[in-house]
């Protein structure tokens, strides 16, 4: 019996949050060419969405309340998800609060969200943890650490315990949501963090939660809290 406890001990030790000094953005796991695509501020692929977002900001009269996005939206993306009127909402949900016609994962919502998030590029992630958001943070953390799906996997098993190793030939990143919405080469388009979550859930053969599901927004809060202090890269490019 003692022998088994000794065997289990190292497994228990390696589970746990990544120490701040060892945290790495997905950017650091990418190749030189993909990094160059993200660094290209003038002709990188996400520029197309930023230009559309800027046009939508004018068309939907966001400026009527918020003025110039370059000033009013600075730092906003670093604070979301946040509790608004007693409910946890992520950046997409907050962006469409006056424009519900923008459906999840539509080009227009992604463009407007990318434009808003872009204003916080280079700023440290700083989601607020208070009495209202604590319960969501705990449920997001529980989701991250609970095994689910037909493969009986938890998010933490890859992204806390085995980051840096390879899965199907590609490096496993640490799952820090530093650059959403992202231009993902696999998608050939811009997509949200919820879409990325759904990719992972599919891979784990777990229940595919819909866009805007409270579980996914709580998970987003936990991951943003886990990446606190890291710099936003939105809109980032990822393979």
């Amino acid at each position: 019996m003692r022998f088994f406890i000794l065997l289990l001990f190292p497994a228990l030790l390696c589970a746990g949050e990544i120490p701040p000094a060892e945290r790495k953005s997905g950017y650091e796991f990418m190749g030189r060419e993909t990094r160059a695509m993200q660094d290209d501020q003038l002709t990188g692929p996400a520029v197309l969405w930023l230009l559309d977002g800027e046009a939508l900001w004018k068309k939907l009269d966001c400026a009527g309340c918020h003025g110039d996005a370059r000033a009013s939206m600075k730092g906003v993306a670093a604070r979301y998800p946040a509790v608004v009127q007693g409910k946890l909402v992520n950046l997409e949900q907050q962006v469409r609060h006056k424009a519900p016609q923008l459906s999840y994962e539509s080009r227009d919502l992604l463009a407007l969200t990318a434009y808003v998030a872009h204003q916080s590029r280079g700023m440290p992630i700083a989601v607020e943890v208070n009495e209202g958001s604590k319960v969501y943070l705990e449920s997001g953390k529980a989701f991250f650490h609970s095994r689910q799906g037909q493969l009986n996997l938890a998010c933490a098993q890859c992204h806390d315990d085995n980051w840096g190793k390879k899965l199907a030939g590609t490096p496993i990143p640490q799952a820090h949501p530093t650059g959403y919405p992202i231009y993902r080469l696999e998608w050939q388009t811009v997509g949200s963090l919820a879409r990325r979550f759904r990719n992972c859930l599919t891979g784990m053969r777990a229940e595919l939660l819909p866009h805007g599901a409270p579980e996914l927004v709580s998970l987003e809060l936990y991951l943003m809290h886990r990446a606190r202090g890291m710099k936003l890269e939105s809109p980032a490019v990822r393979p």
């Binding site: 003038l42 002709t43 692929p45 520029v47 197309l48 230009l51 050939q188 388009t189």
Partner: protein, 106 residues
């Protein structure tokens, strides 16, 4: 409306080699993919990109189904005189987009 972006240096020395970057928003659907019901998704790609410098063609590219979505095409030319560079993309289903940029040669 198609979204296209070009990046041309605003100013260059005469005889200098300048880099021109062009980005076009386009799905570049290959024509080889199928829907979940097995139906072929028809091809929809950009076929050509041409650039003229004060009316003279200095660059032309043919694009094919293997090119990724939102193609970025970078090329160089020699700055000969001040003027305008005109870019034209054409493709399947009557796709057409134009963009221009001016350059000052000193």
């Amino acid at each position: 409306m198609a979204r296209v972006v070009v990046n041309v240096p605003a100013e260059a020395k005469r005889g200098e080699v300048i880099e021109i970057r062009t980005l076009a928003g386009h799905p570049m659907e290959t024509g080889f993919r199928r829907t979940q019901l097995g139906e072929l998704i028809p091809r929809d790609i950009i076929r050509t990109l041409a650039c003229t410098y004060n009316g003279v063609e200095v660059f032309r590219a043919e694009l094919h189904p293997a090119v990724a979505a939102n193609p970025l095409v970078t090329f160089t030319t020699v700055a000969t005189e001040s003027g305008t560079l005109e870019f034209r993309w054409t493709g399947d289903n009557g796709f057409s987009a134009t963009q221009s940029a001016s350059i000052k040669v000193v």
